[in-house]
């Protein structure tokens, strides 16, 4: 029985049957034989439900229409763009990249998984070109893909399409990252809440400091963002309640993913702040520890240029004295303290200074330190003190390499002694033992 309600136009009977005439589907009246309707002898490509023997890319079709996976991929690109609320221009660019990449010889035959990731990579490249801050990690999460695969496909795509996508700087990522933290008064207790704007501002200054102190280069961006936001939150209102919150608890409260690397970044950032905070004149000789530094962060950030200069000077003096007389650093301590009266005069204009770029200052004074080092006599310090005040942690905690054997000078055409070669060949007895052991092993494996 065919579709209910069909009537034969010739005889009016309702008995219409599905029949096939040489594989052409027809609807035929069972009583009079009239053909009610005919199907098509051939199907269009989009109607074919089963696969063909010949791959579409190998077929002889002249104007190749986009294959099903490409259409799906373009839809995926569009959907992701809508989720990320990208502009229309960016959506178009991403689609273009995807079309170009899909038809590129290095991508036409890869696995479906890679093609899915390719959609995300095109969007990532577009975002970077339009300075839209997004991390690769976010894109990986959206696609639910393997991060390594994402990296591989992204680099291949950039190479194949020859596009230039400058990586986003960490500071640009800060604002979007900050908005993920739920710290408004409606989410948390009033004492623990903080507005996103204040938090971003303070965290940006901390992040700049971290970048200058070599804590950002070469590292994952998200942990350092988390660390700077955490310290910003603590230092904006350094009450006991806030100080008692560990990083893990803070992430839980703000409903943000935990990370195992962020605590290390917090420690490193606190060390940098300690080094600067040590130079505060109103400390009056007491030690600045990572525990006490958080309360002083406000002051440190306001006067950070002056503190940086002072820290570099005292570091230079420490290096000079270290190379002249073996460790007696107490002499250098009074130095910065003497500067205290003069500092009060300069400290009255901190805001004007802090408005300047700290970047040039750091590099200028670094060369002063290097100059000081060369004056003091390079390479004669017995204890390996830092060459400059701030160094990348990979330099400070250098890996202890195993002792390299001295490279033997050989010509490559020397005589090879027989005894040496014989030492690499088994004796007959050994061979028999080995064969027996292997048999015993393989038979015991068969048992299991």
């Amino acid at each position: 029985m065919a579709a209910v309600g069909l009537k034969c136009p010739e005889c009016g009977s309702l008995d219409i049957v599905d029949d096939e005439h040489y594989s052409q589907p027809q609807l035929v009246c069972a009583d009079c034989g009239a053909v009610v309707s005919e199907g098509l002898l051939t199907t269009t490509r989009s109607e074919e439900l089963q696969g063909t023997d010949v791959r579409y890319s190998n077929s002889t079709e002249v104007n190749k229409q986009p294959c099903r996976n490409q259409i799906k991929g373009i839809h995926r690109v569009r959907a992701l763009c809508r989720i990320l609320r990208l502009s229309f221009v960016m959506e178009e660019t991403a689609e273009n990249y995807f079309k170009q990449a899909y038809e590129h010889p290095s991508f036409i035959r890869v696995s479906l998984q890679k093609k899915e990731v390719l959609a995300g990579c095109c969007i990532l490249a577009t975002c970077r070109q339009h300075s839209w801050p997004i991390t690769m990690g976010t894109m990986t999460c959206l696609l639910e893909a393997n991060p390594k695969l994402m990296g591989v496909v992204y680099q291949e795509m950039v190479k194949a399409l020859k596009i230039e996508a400058p990586p986003t700087s960490v500071i640009d990522l800060l604002e979007t990252h900050c908005q993920a933290y739920k710290l408004s008064p409606q989410h948390v207790h009033e004492e623990l809440s903080e507005s996103s704007k204040d938090l971003t501002k303070r965290a940006a200054v901390l992040l700049e400091l971290a970048a200058d102190a070599w804590l950002v280069t070469g590292r994952q961006p998200v942990p350092i963002l988390t660390a700077s936001i955490y310290l910003a939150w603590q230092s904006l209102k350094p009450t006991q309640t806030r100080l008692k919150y560990t990083l893990a608890r803070f992430c839980q409260m703000a409903k943000v993913a935990k990370s195992s690397i962020a605590p290390k970044r917090v420690t490193e950032l606190k060390e940098v702040l300690c080094k600067l905070g040590q130079e505060l004149p109103w400390l009056r000789g007491s030690e600045m520890t990572p525990q006490t530094v958080v309360q002083m962060v406000d002051d440190i950030l306001n006067y950070r240029l002056t503190l940086l200069r002072k820290a570099l000077k005292s570091h230079e003096a420490a290096l000079a004295s270290e190379s002249e007389l073996p460790p007696s650093l107490e002499d250098t301590q009074p130095g910065p303290r003497d500067d205290a009266p003069s500092l009060d005069a300069t400290a009255s204009q901190p805001d004007a200074e802090s408005a300047q770029q700290p970047q040039q200052d750091v590099d200028l004074t670094c060369t002063v330190v290097m100059g000081g080092l060369s004056r003091a006599g390079s390479g004669q310090v017995s204890t390996p003190s830092k060459r400059s005040l701030f160094e990348p942690p990979s330099v400070t905690h250098a890996k202890i390499r195993r002792v390299q054997l001295p490279v033997k000078e050989v010509t490559g055409d020397e005589e090879i002694s027989d005894s040496e070669i014989d030492s690499y060949i088994r004796t007959p007895q050994e061979m028999r033992d080995y064969a027996e052991a292997k048999e015993a092993l393989s038979s015991s494996e068969e048992e299991f």
Binding site: P147, V216, Q220, V395, V410, G412, E420, Y424, E430, A435
Partner: protein, 302 residues
């Protein structure tokens, strides 16, 4: 003399305009034209200065006729680290370089080819070779099972990999020996060590009863490393040298710099350590490092 005046004309014009005039072929984006000045300002100034001085002071009329091509080839070499490539020029350059330095010792770092101009401001740091990969053809089919049975230093797991893995103690190397008779030798610290190690492996295979020969020994890859001893701002380097660098801190902590001439890949880390790989000859590693050092140094002072 026509060649002499051409030479002086060449030195009078700044390098950038001669680039535009001669219409070098690009390898890379068209956006390259603007940036070479930025990238190479420090490098070009140091290297072109001595040539300019010499052009003014010395009377070059006695020099052989092919010198202008050589100098132009050399200047092309100077600008080529920014990725410009001219097929014709490089051919001239190579034939002249073969004439100019016939017996380069393997231990001498490659210097630019003008015999008159000394290398200006060499870095003083020589990369150390860490690994050499070479291949050789033993030219006889091998029974891997019998090799694994008879040799002490061999491992063979056909389900995992279709080759015998053999190691010798001196020079400390590893070899992959395939049943077709081809062999890959890795782990040596110099070309001669690699050759000696490959010969030892061939001798072991010979002693095991196969008629092994030693054909087509070729070095396929050399890896070197060194330390410039100052920290490097990778984020800045990737912005100025976008066409060659790839820096993804989420994927890998180092910056991957693909130098075009010589064709070497450099891994540059924030601590100042540099790894150079992809070379077929020792000189390529030295040349690549000499090319990158001014970029890194000029970058550090900015």
């Amino acid at each position: 003399m026509d060649e002499g005046s051409a030479l002086e004309r060449y030195f009078d014009e700044p390098i950038e305009t001669t680039q535009a005039d001669s219409g070098f072929l690009f390898e890379g984006d068209l956006g390259l034209q603007g940036t070479p000045q930025l990238q190479n300002s420090s490098f070009l100034s140091t290297l072109s200065q001595p040539e300019k001085d010499i052009g003014e002071d010395l009377d070059l009329s006695f020099l052989p006729d092919d010198l202008p091509e050589e100098s132009r080839g050399n200047a092309a070499n100077v600008t080529q680290d920014s990725g410009l490539f001219d097929a014709d020029r490089s051919e001239d350059f190579e034939t002249d370089s073969n004439n100019a330095m016939p017996g380069t010792s393997t231990f001498c770092p490659m210097t630019p080819m003008t015999p008159l101009a000394p290398v200006a401001e060499s870095s003083g740091i020589i990369p150390i070779l860490q690994n050499i990969v070479s291949t050789v053809n033993l030219a006889c089919p091998l029974d891997l099972k019998s090799i694994a049975l008879q040799a002490r230093n061999a491992e063979y797991n056909p389900k995992r990999f279709a080759a015998v893995i053999m190691r010798i103690r001196e020079p400390r190397t590893t070899a992959l020996i395939f049943s077709s008779g081809k062999m890959v030798c890795t782990g040596a610290k110099s070309e001669d060590q690699s050759r000696l190690a490959a010969r030892k492996y061939a001798r072991v295979v010979q002693k095991l009863g196969f008629p092994a020969k030693f054909l087509d020994f070729k070095i396929q890859n050399m890896v070197g490393s060194c330390d410039v001893c100052f920290p490097i701002r990778l984020e800045g380097l990737v912005l100025t040298h976008q066409q060659f660098s790839s820096y993804e801190p989420e994927l890998f902590p180092g910056l991957i710099y693909r130098m075009v001439k010589p064709r070497i890949v450099l891994l540059i880390f924030v601590s100042g350590k540099v790894v150079l790989t992809g070379a077929k000859e020792r000189g390529e590693i030295y040349e690549a490092f000499e090319n990158i050092y001014p970029i890194l140094k000029g970058f550090r002072k900015q």
